[in-house]
Assembly symmetry: C2
DNA sequence: ATCAGGATTGGGCAACATGCACTATCCACG
DNA sequence: CGTGGATAGTGCATGTTGCCCAATCCTGAT
């Protein structure tokens, strides 16, 4: 993962503030050359700093308004196969191998309780899955955000004036 | 939350497949009028089906490569104030009020263990927070995805041919 | 069946953007 | 100092956007 310099951060931050702004407009706003913005955008996409567009799609709008977090306990030796089978369940939209009392923490969405129950049944039917403990999200207290992180980084690296060069202001690492 | 019909789904799905495609290109691909695509896109943005651009920013690229899930136990009567104070911690990038043994499940990122320890200290210092149990993400087994949900919905509502009209094929809800 | 309202279609237009190319300059490193 | 990559500024053919308009379609209510 290539880390970002202040110019990258400024570009990202401006894009968050004005997603529809063209590269030309961003360049003007940030006092950069249009070519620079374009080159940076290409690099941000190719090096993984920008995740795929699908992150923006709201599951609730697709009818999956029920969000739950499922703590899954598995037989470790079957982990690989289990993960493959979890991937085949469309309602599991994220999963992490975690430390702590559970082995996997999955985000599972559904249209309602009945469908969630069905999906949980699918999870439990996977060989090697010993337990699945489900917590329902009752409220989204802090919606997913990254601007707080960007602001933190910009505030930390903002000692080089309004026109920062790359390596002198590399802050994200 | 306004639910989406098949045309919306097809537009979203095409955007996920080709994020850089113009409205004109999408319209051609989907056999729709350009105006229709534009109108639908405006609606998708305004009704919350499309989340803000910042969802696409990868925290790891900002230097926050350590992901953890913090289960927070609180005094219920102080919940409102607690949430406000959690919001003021930039490294908390998501939080849900959940059922189950914990009250709040938070996603906390950091550059490393030391910083995570510091953030945890901040959480614990909030009045009304009784406990905070942290699980580290050791592996992103299933990266966040929504195309699986879209595919599911499209497969479920695909009985009306290649040119679906709105209400006859409303499937998401 | 009729009517009304919203959605969709197809087309137009001025302004603008994009992707790519080019040259010149700057900056960091060996 | 020399070199290579990054940045800046500019140009151009092509395509896009935001907005507008009129006509048609579709759906639900009466």
């Amino acid at each position: 993962m290539q880390h970002l310099d202040t110019t990258d951060l400024r570009i990202l931050s401006a894009m968050c503030a004005r997603p529809k702004a063209s590269a030309v407009a961003l360049a003007t706003e940030l006092s950069l050359s249009r070519n620079t913005v374009q080159a940076r955008l290409v690099r941000l996409e190719s090096n993984g700093a920008l995740l795929p567009f699908e992150q923006r799609v709201n599951p609730a709008a697709l009818g999956f308004g029920l969000v739950s977090f499922v703590h899954i306990h598995v037989q470790q030796r079957l982990l690989g196969q289990i993960v493959e089978q979890l991937k085949a369940i469309p309602e599991i939209i994220e999963a992490h191998g975690v430390t702590g009392s559970a082995d996997i923490l999955a985000r599972v969405v559904a249209s309602g309780a009945e469908e969630l129950f069905r999906v949980n049944g699918q999870i439990l039917a996977i060989e090697g899955v010993e337990r699945a403990d489900t917590s329902l999200s009752m409220a989204e207290l802090i919606p997913h955000r990254t601007t707080s992180l960007m602001d933190l980084r910009l505030a930390a690296g903002n000692g080089t004036g309004s026109r920062s060069t790359g390596s002198a202001a590399e802050v994200a690492g």
